[in-house]
Amino acid sequence: MARSITYREALNEALAQEMERDESVIVMGEDNAGGAGSPGEQDAWGGVLGVTKGLYHRFPGRVLDTPISESAFIGAAIGAATAGLRPVAELMFVDFMGVCFDQIYNQAAKFRYMFGGKAVTPVVIRTMYGAGLRAAAQHSQCLYPLFTHIPGLKVVLPATPYDAKGLLIQAIRDDDPVIFFEHKALYDLSGPVPEESYALPFGEANVVREGEDATIVTLGRMVHVALSAADQLAGEGVQCEVIDLRTTSPLDEDTVLESVEGTGRLVVVDEAHPRCSIATDISALVAQKAFGALRAPVEMVTAPHTPVPFSGALEDLYMPDAQRVANAVKTVTGWTR
C-alpha cells in the first residue's frame, strides 16, 4: 500500500475500475461529460470539482451530461437502476436534493419493500456536503441526517482516500440506493490506496485511534478534527478512542457501545446541526444501551442550529474545531457528580 493518491483520485479510480469490471455501470450528472452538446474533443470538466475527469473518453457513451434539472436526472437514474443498470449520479451539492426528494425517499427507498423484495434499485447518488468553502447557506449543509432517517436508503461518508475508494466500490455493487457524501474540503487529502479493487462493507465503523479515557464518535471530515484534538490531548496525558462511523445507515452500534463500555465517556462530533442529528442519534443509542457504563453526561460538538453563515469569520466559528472537541473531552473526563 505504498502508493499515495488523493481522495478525488481515489473516487475517480473506483468509478473507472467498476466501469471496467461491469458494463452496466454508468455515470451521469451536471458537467460530468464536458457540457451539453460537447463534441467530446476536449476532456470533460469532470463534474463540479473534477471527480469524473477522464472517464468520458475512456468509456464512450457511458458518461452522460444532464440538464440542470435534478428532479429529472435523479429520477432517470433511479428508473435506470430498476431497469438493470447501475447508475452513479452526481448531484453537485446535497443542498439541491430537495427538488428530487420524491424520487429518492418515496420511490427509490421504497421499491424493495413495496414489491416484496423482488425489486432492487442499485443506484448511487454522489453528492458534496459541508462548510469551509465560503459557499454560504445554500451550498454548505450537512444533510446526511435527513437521509439516515429514511429506511431503505444507505448513507455513506468516507473520511479518507482509502475509505473513499472501497466504500464507493461497495456502493456501486450494492443492490440498494446509496447516498454517498463527499466533503468538499477532503478532495485534496492524500493517503495510501491500493491499486487493486476492493470493497469495504457497510455498517463497519473504523476505530482510527485507540484510547482508554474517552470515546469520540465522529464521521466524515470531522474525523480529522477529532484526531487533531486527540493528538493534542495525548500530549496532556488524555488518551481518546476515535471512532469513524463510515456509514450512518447501516450503523455499527457494537463498535460504539464496546468502546463506551471501555471508556465510560462519550463525545460525539458531528458537523450537522444539533437537532435530530447523528450526534443526537449516537447519544440516544449510548444512553439506552450503555447507560450503566457512562461515568459522565454525553457531550455533543456540532454546528449551531443556524444556516451556514455567509461571513467567513462567522463560518469559521460555525464549524466544530479541534479546540472545541478537546474542551468537550476535558468536560467528560473532568466531570464529577
Binding site: A2, G166, E196
Partner: protein, 377 residues
C-alpha cells in the same frame, strides 16, 4: 565480540517503507552486560512493534534514544563498548548520534529496495530484494502472508547475501488468480519464475509454513538449482494442523473476527497490533483474495487434516540438498513435534515462539538460516 572499539546499536529497518522508529521501552540499562541475541529494547514503527536483539556482546555504556522519540533508520540508539574506552570518547559518539536523531529523516532517504515485478505465465508476481553481493536467498511466505512478513530478517540477512522476498500468487501485490487445476504448481511456478527473472542458476530457499511446501516442490522440480532449504514450521510433515486457524483466517470478514484468529499465530499477543490486523483485513478485501484463499484451503486441507505430503517431497530430493528446519516451540497452528518428520534436517527449536518465529525471534531464525546456507558450501 566488541574487542576494543565502540559498537553502535542502531535503529533497525523493519520493512521497506520504514524510515522512523521509536524505542517504547529499554530492556537494558547503562552498565548491563549483554550477549548476542539478548533483548535490548522494544521498538515500534508505524506498522509494527518488535524487540531489538543484540548483534554484538559487551557492556552497554550509553543509552542515547529517549523513550518515545523518533529515530531515523540506522541512527545510533545506544553504545556498547569495553571498559577501556574513555568517557570522553563515548560522549563524542553520543553527540554525533544525537545530531543524527535531531536531524530526522534525510530528504534523500530512499524507500529501500525497489519493488519489482515479473510476468510468470501471464501472472504479475511482485518481489523485492536487498543486498549487494553473495548468493541469492529467496524468502517464501505462508498462507495469507506476503513479502513483508520477512521484515525483521531480510535486511540482516542482506549483509552477506542477495536476499529477495516474493508475494506468492493470491497474496500481497501479486496477481490474485491461483488457477483452478493445480494451484500448488502455480505457486511453485511463481518461485521458479522469480528465480528466472533474477537470472539465478542457484539459490537458497527459505519457506514458511505453506511456503515451506512450496520451496520443497520447487526443489523436487529442479534439485540442482537449489543450494539449500530452510523450512520454518513447514506444512505437510504430519496430518495435524489447526483447521480453525486456517478456515478462520480465510472466512474472517471483520476486524472483530480476524483479530483472535491472527492471535493464534503468535506466542506474544502484543505483536497483534491494530495495524497488523488492519493490514491483513485490507489485503483480504482486495478483489480475488477471498477466492484465492479458499482455493488454497483446498490444496492444504483434506477434511480436517493436511493434504500436502512434504515428507514424500523431501524423500524425492534424496538428501541432495542441505535442509534445516526451524519451529516455534509453542506453535499453535502446526505442532512443533512434526519437526521430527523432517528427515535428515538439522532442527532448530525456538523457545517462546509460535507459528511466526521469524517475527518473534528473528535473531535465532537468522542464525538457523545462516547455518543451513553454510552447509551448502
Amino acid at each position: 565480540m566488541t574487542g576494543e572499539r565502540i559498537v553502535a546499536v542502531t535503529m533497525p529497518k523493519w520493512g521497506l517503507s520504514m524510515q522512523l522508529g521509536k524505542v517504547t521501552s529499554w530492556i537494558v540499562a547503562e552498565g548491563d552486560e549483554v550477549g548476542v541475541g539478548d533483548e535490548l529494547a522494544d521498538i515500534e514503527t508505524e506498522k509494527i512493534a518488535g524487540t531489538l536483539e543484540a548483534s554484538d556482546a559487551g557492556t552497554v555504556r550509553r543509552i542515547i534514544a529517549r523513550v518515545g522519540e523518533d529515530v531515523p533508520v540506522s541512527g545510533t540508539i545506544a553504545l556498547i563498548a569495553p571498559a577501556q574506552i574513555s568517557d570522553a570518547e563515548l560522549d563524542a559518539a553520543v553527540e554525533q548520534a544525537r545530531a543524527v536523531i535531531e536531524a530526522g529523516v534525510p530528504d534523500d532517504a530512499g524507500g529501500g529496495p525497489e519493488v519489482q515485478t515479473a510476468d510468470v505465465g501471464g501472472r504479475k508476481i511482485s518481489y523485492a530484494g536487498v543486498g549487494e553481493e553473495g548468493d541469492v536467498v529467496l524468502l517464501i511466505h505462508g498462507f495469507g502472508g506476503d513479502k513483508n512478513s520477512w521484515l525483521f530478517l531480510q535486511e540482516p540477512l542482506a549483509a552477506r547475501h542477495r536476499v529477495y522476498a516474493l508475494d506468492l500468487p493470491g497474496h500481497g501485490a501479486s496477481a490474485k488468480d491461483v488457477g483452478v487445476g493445480d494451484p500448488a504448481a502455480v505457486l511453485a511456478g511463481a518461485v521458479t519464475g522469480v528465480l528466472d527473472a533474477l537470472g539465478a542458476d542457484r539459490a537458497h530457499l527459505v519457506g514458511h509454513s505453506m511456503g515451506g511446501a512450496v520451496a520443497l516442490a520447487v526443489a523436487v522440480g529442479d534439485p540442482g538449482r537449489i543450494a539449500s532449504l530452510t523450512l520454518i514450521a513447514p506444512s505437510g510433515f504430519g496430518p495435524e494442523i489447526n483447521v480453525g486457524y486456517l478456515r478462520g483466517f480465510a472466512d474472517a470478514q471483520t476486524r472483530r473476527e480476524l483479530k483472535p484468529v491472527v492471535g493464534q499465530l503468535f506466542a506474544d499477543q502484543s505483536l497483534v497490533t491494530r495495524q497488523v490486523v488492519d493490514d491483513l483485513l485490507a489485503y483480504k478485501r482486495l478483489d480475488g483474495v477471498d477466492q484465492a484463499l479458499h482455493t488454497l484451503l483446498g490444496v492444504l486441507l483434506d477434511g480436517d487434516t493436511q493434504r500436502t505430503d512434504s515428507a514424500a517431497a523431501l524423500a524425492a530430493i534424496g538428501g541432495a540438498v542441505p535442509v534445516g528446519v526451524v519451529w516455534g516451540a509453542v506453535d499453535s497452528v502446526i505442532p512443533a513435534a512434526q519437526a521430527q518428520s523432517v528427515t535428515g534436517a538439522v532442527r532448530h527449536l525456538v523457545d517462546g515462539a509460535g507459528h511466526m518465529p521469524h517475527m518473534e525471534r528473528p535473531g535465532q531464525v537468522q542464525a538457523a538460516i545462516e547455518e543451513t546456507i553454510a552447509r551448502a558450501r
